[in-house]
Point group: C2
Chain length 114, copies 2
Amino acid sequence: MTDNEARLPPVGAIAVIFIAQRTDEDEVGYGRAAGAMDALAATQPGYLGIDSVRGADGLGITVSYWADEASAVAWRNNAEHAAIREIGRARWYARYRLIVTQAVRGYGWERGGA
Amino acid sequence: MTDNEARLPPVGAIAVIFIAQRTDEDEVGYGRAAGAMDALAATQPGYLGIDSVRGADGLGITVSYWADEASAVAWRNNAEHAAIREIGRARWYARYRLIVTQAVRGYGWERGGA
């Protein structure tokens, strides 16, 4: 198994898809908060990993993976996370969508991989 | 309902998360093929929409939404799509992961929205 395949969430895991358009405000504050939230998420029970990309136009997609519904909901309800979300709506985001999904299957491919 | 909320997939819809690292080869050919595949996908039964972002480092996340498992599988098995995937593995991608999920719930937020 490659590292790439190792990062696939197991069947039944929760994948939270967050699609957000950044404003052009406060890049420094946003970057600091995003880093702090990634680090805090990684300490939570049931955390499986995160994938995150932002394009030059400020549109970003972040997918976080959780062992089960309970751990995803616990992260949503985390007080520090909730406080940061308030700042996000006031300052960093023009709009977003959040889609909670459950993994059905997955696979990875890697150039030159087994 | 805003346009943003309108774009949420219904509960039970399939969301296919594709996380891919581009090589730095053939940007023109890749862009042409990606545009053609987006246009072809949009004509398929059960297609609900797509979100796609690529960062400056070549890592991209694309999420395509399908009404049900049958329409997502039909798109996977589409002959033109399959042929393009072969070129993708030969030329455009260093590695990728594909995670098929089913939507559990979702919501949207928009600055100044209702």
